[in-house]
Symmetry: C2
Subunit: 228 residues, 2 copies
C-alpha cells in the first residue's frame, strides 16, 4: 500500500514537471509567433493548449483518486493538495501563452510588437522560459535555493515590465491605440506567467519547510508594476 502510494506521488510529481515543459514550450513558441508574425506557429500554440488542460484534468483525477483510496494525512495530504494547486498554476500559464499567441494571430501579417519594443519582449520571453524551466527543476529536486532563485528571476521580469511601460509612457511613443492596448496586455501576460511560476516554487518551498498555508501570489505582496 505504501509503495503504491509513493509511486502515485512520484507519478504526480512527474506529471507536474511535464506540465512545466508544456507551458514553457507554449510560451516560447507563442513569443516566436508574436515576434515573427508567424500565424501557423500561433495557431499551433492555440491548438496545443488543450494538452495542458488535459494534463491538468488527468493529474487532478489522479490526485482525487489518491485521496479517496489512501486517505493520506499530515504531510502526505498536503503534498497531494499542493499538487492540485500547482497544476492549476501551470494550466493558467498555458492559458497565458495562448493569449500571447492570439495577439500574434490577430495582428498577422503585422507583428504586434513595434521595432523599439522587440528587444524588451524578447527578454521577457527569455525570462519566461528561464523561470518555467526552473519551476520544473524545483518540483523534481525540491531544492530550496533553486526555489528562492525564482524570486530573483521574477524581479527581472518585473524590471522588464517596467521597461515596457516606460516605452509606452515615453513622449516619443506614437503608435495607434491598438498597439498600446496589445502591449499593455502582453506585458501583463508575461508578468502573470512568471508570477504563477513563482507560486509553484513557493508551494514546493512551503511543503518542504512545513509552513504550508502562507503561499501568497506575487501580486499580493507588492504593488503591481503598473500601479506603483
Amino acid at each position: 500500500m505504501r509503495n503504491a502510494y509513493l509511486e502515485d506521488l512520484r507519478n504526480i510529481s512527474d506529471r507536474l514537471v511535464d506540465m512545466t515543459r508544456l507551458a514553457g514550450s507554449a510560451m516560447s513558441r507563442a513569443s516566436a509567433a508574436l515576434l515573427d508574425a508567424d500565424i501557423d506557429l500561433a495557431d499551433a500554440v492555440i491548438a496545443a493548449d488543450h494538452e495542458i488542460d488535459t494534463a491538468r484534468e488527468d493529474l487532478d483525477t489522479l490526485a482525487i483518486d489518491l485521496l479517496a483510496r489512501q486517505s493520506p494525512v499530515a504531510t502526505d495530504l498536503r503534498t497531494v493538495v499542493t499538487a492540485m494547486r500547482m497544476s492549476s498554476d501551470l494550466e493558467r500559464m498555458g492559458d497565458l501563452a495562448r493569449h500571447v499567441a492570439k495577439v500574434a494571430r490577430l495582428r498577422y501579417p503585422e507583428s504586434a510588437v513595434p521595432p523599439e519594443l522587440r528587444e524588451t519582449i524578447t527578454h521577457m520571453s527569455q525570462a519566461a522560459s528561464r523561470i518555467v524551466a526552473k519551476a520544473g527543476s524545483v518540483i523534481a529536486s525540491r531544492d530550496l535555493a533553486d526555489a528562492a532563485s525564482l524570486e530573483r528571476d521574477d524581479d527581472a521580469m518585473d524590471d522588464l515590465h517596467r521597461e515596457l511601460f516606460a516605452h509606452l509612457a515615453d513622449a516619443q511613443w506614437d503608435y495607434p491605440t491598438q498597439v498600446t492596448v496589445d502591449l499593455t496586455l502582453l506585458g501583463r501576460y508575461y508578468e502573470r506567467f512568471a508570477d504563477h511560476a513563482v507560486s509553484v516554487a513557493r508551494r514546493v518551498t512551503f511543503l518542504v519547510t512545513g509552513d504550508y498555508d502562507t503561499v501568497v501570489d506575487r501580486e499580493d505582496e507588492e504593488d503591481s508594476v503598473l500601479t506603483s
Copy 2:
C-alpha cells in the same frame, strides 16, 4: 461523526458565501473609488483585501482538516476539493478589486476614467456586483437555473468589455497613453472578476450534476474579447 461532518460542510459553504460578500463589496467600493477619485475609499479597499486572503486561508485549513479527520470519498471528497477551488476563485476576485482600487489611487486627484467612459465602467461595476451576488446565492442554494444564468451575466460583461474597447479604438479617442493603459487593464480586471464568478457557479453545477472534471475557465472556451 456524520453530523460533525455535515456541520463542517455547512460551515465551509457559509464561509464561501461570506467570501462572495467580501469580494462583491470590495469591487463595488473599488469602482466607486475609481469613478469618484476617492483615495480614502481606494485605500480602504486595498487595506481590506487581507480579510479575503485570511478568509481563504481559514477555509482551506478547515477543508484540509476535514480531509484529514474524516477521509471523505466520492461526492463528499469532491465537495471539499471543489470548495478549495472556489475559495481560490474568490480570493482572486478580491485581488482584482484591489487592482481597480490601486488604479484609482494612482490617478488621484484625477479619475482614471474619462467622461465618455464613465457610463461603461459604471455598467461594468454593476454587472460585477450582480454576478458575484448571484455566485453567493448559487453556493447557498445549489440552484442550477441560477447557476446557468451567470453565463448570461458574463455575456453582458463581455459586451461591456467590447464597448470599452470600441471607445479606445475610436478615431475620436485622444487621451494620453497612460489613460489607454489604465482602461485596458481595468477592462481586463472586470472581465476576469466575472470569469471567476462563472467558475464558482460552474463548480457548483458540476458538483450537483456529478460531471466534476469539466469545469473550464470562461476564457478557455472562447476568444477573449480583445483578441476576437
